[in-house]
Every structure is written in structure tokens, then in C-alpha cells.
Symmetry: C2
Subunit: 168 residues, 2 copies
């Protein structure tokens, strides 16, 4: 999968210290296609700095291998249900931003409501509705799993449409 100067590929990333989901979309054979998905996982019994390093290295390698034009993340919002988990997520998000910056890939941060609206038409859609819409929009054979990957694909799709990419 050689990199093109303007790849029109968009990489959505859903950061988490335990599981960071990603999904790459871009022009396939005439239609928008899912080009890569996966999860970067780190074990709980590793030290924080080792987990952070694994996420940084994993994302850096993804950026090198996939050559996205844009990385799309969820914007920060004020109220997280689990503050400690959110703080650890933010450590991961920090090194992901750093990796993108160092690879000169632009970052777009989108509000959760905007992504839900773009994908389902409803800014308050459930996780399941988002998964089903992503499956339909990207013509996937099954529901995107795990949910981190579904969220990453929803981010990528919304970012791609914001770039003015052809969606069908």
C-alpha cells in the first residue's frame, strides 16, 4: 500500500490506555472503503510509562505504514463518567497528538455529538446505532467490533466528509 502525495486517507483513533482503536478509510475501488482497522492494547500490569511508550510506538508505526492525510480524534469534553480513566486516556491522547505532530499529519478533533449526527443523523444516537450506521455507510460485512474500532471508523468517516471527500 504505497503512500501517495495526497492520500485522501483518514485515520480515526479512539485513544485508551488499555485499548486504542483505529480505523483507516479512503477511496477504494471506486467507493469509500475501510483500508485498515485494529486495536493497540497494553497490559494493566505494565508501568504507565511503558504503556504510553507502546501506544506512542504503535501509532507512530501506523502513521508510517498507512500515510493518512488526517488523524481524527474525539474532542475533549468536560464531564467524563470515570475521571481517572479519562485522565489515563488523556495520557494516551497526548502521545498520539505528539506522534501525529512529529509525522506532520494534521489532527482534527470532533465533538462526540457531531460524529453521531454525521453518522446516524442523530446527535444523541446510542453506541449500537453508531455501530449499525458505520456498518451500512462503509458496507461492512458485519458490525464493526470492538466498539473502539467502531468509534474510530465513525470519527474517520466524519473527518473524511468534512474534508469534502466523496462518500460513495
Amino acid at each position: 500500500m504505497p503512500a501517495e502525495p495526497r492520500s485522501r486517507r483518514v485515520l480515526g483513533i479512539d485513544p485508551g490506555l488499555s485499548d486504542t482503536g483505529y480505523g483507516l478509510i479512503g477511496p477504494g475501488d471506486g467507493a469509500l472503503a475501510v483500508l485498515a482497522t485494529g486495536v493497540i492494547s497494553t497490559l494493566r500490569d505494565l508501568r504507565l510509562e511503558d504503556r504510553i511508550q507502546l501506544i506512542y510506538t504503535g501509532v507512530d508505526e501506523l502513521l508510517a505504514a498507512l500515510s493518512p492525510e488526517l488523524v481524527v480524534l474525539e474532542d475533549l469534553y468536560a464531564e467524563y463518567r470515570f475521571p481517572r480513566t479519562a485522565l489515563l486516556m488523556a495520557h494516551a491522547r497526548g502521545v498520539i497528538c505528539l506522534a501525529a505532530r512529529q509525522r506532520h499529519v494534521d489532527i482534527l478533533a470532533l465533538a462526540p455529538g457531531e460524529v453521531k449526527r454525521a453518522v446516524t443523523g442523530n446527535g444523541r444516537a446510542s453506541k449500537e446505532q453508531v455501530q449499525h450506521s458505520v456498518q451500512r455507510l462503509l458496507a461492512l460485512g458485519g458490525l464493526p467490533r470492538p466498539s473502539h474500532v467502531a468509534d474510530a471508523l465513525a470519527l474517520a468517516f466524519t473527518g473524511y466528509s468534512r474534508m469534502g471527500g466523496r462518500l460513495t
Copy 2:
């Protein structure tokens, strides 16, 4: 200031997206001394990824120049008064952990109460009491300022005493 194999130098860091304070302590002329202090500041009108990159580069350069044996950070706690500020702080903390990990410098995370107790004898001491104790313990000519530097020195002092370093 050439690096020694076992430098006994401890670098306290108080991360923040706007201001990251640091303070290096270690054996001076017979007594524990402050060897370096400073603040890495980033402007509000820069993009998050640019600010993160400046903090990462700044800390990486500090680690290269100062050769600390240990980096001491404040542990995460569940309740921050300003959740969004805490999430941005955690982005900075993430890239600081990454920089230390990449330079093979150990990281020690200390609870705020433990630092206050080590420095003032009281786990619920005020910021002012911490500043005055740090001034006295490290024989500073004036109060350590700004408060990010005072907090970083308090962290370094507590980490140093935990390592079994001679404090006087």
C-alpha cells in the same frame, strides 16, 4: 555539569499545558542543593499538538542536559477542581512520561499528601506552607516562585529522601 553514572540528581516536574515547572536537586558542595529550576511555557493560541510537542522537546532536552537519576511527578488523583484543565495537564504528563521512558530515567509518582507531609510534616499543608518549607529545606535566598517550581522542588525533595539521599 557532566553526567555521572549515579548522579543522585532528582528532577521534580509539575506538568501543565501552559506552564510546566521543574526543579533539579542533588548533592552540592557538601549539602543538598538546587541545581536548576525553570518553567516550560506554551502559548494559548498554539494548537494542542504544537504545545505538546514543545513540552516533550523541552523535557527531553532537560533530561539530556541534566542527567537526573529519577523524575518525580505528582500521582493522579480522582477529583480535580477543573476537569478540562486536568485533562490537558494529563496530555502534558503523558509526553513527559514518554520522554523519561525514552531516556531510560525512572519515574516516581507521589501522592500530594505524601509530598506535603515530607516537606512540612503536615499532609494537609497549604501551598504557602509548602513554599516556605521548600525555601528552608533547600536554603533558598527567597521563596521559590512561581508555584509550579515550588511544587516541582517539593516533589524532587520528597523523591530524593525516598531514595535514601542525605538531606543535609
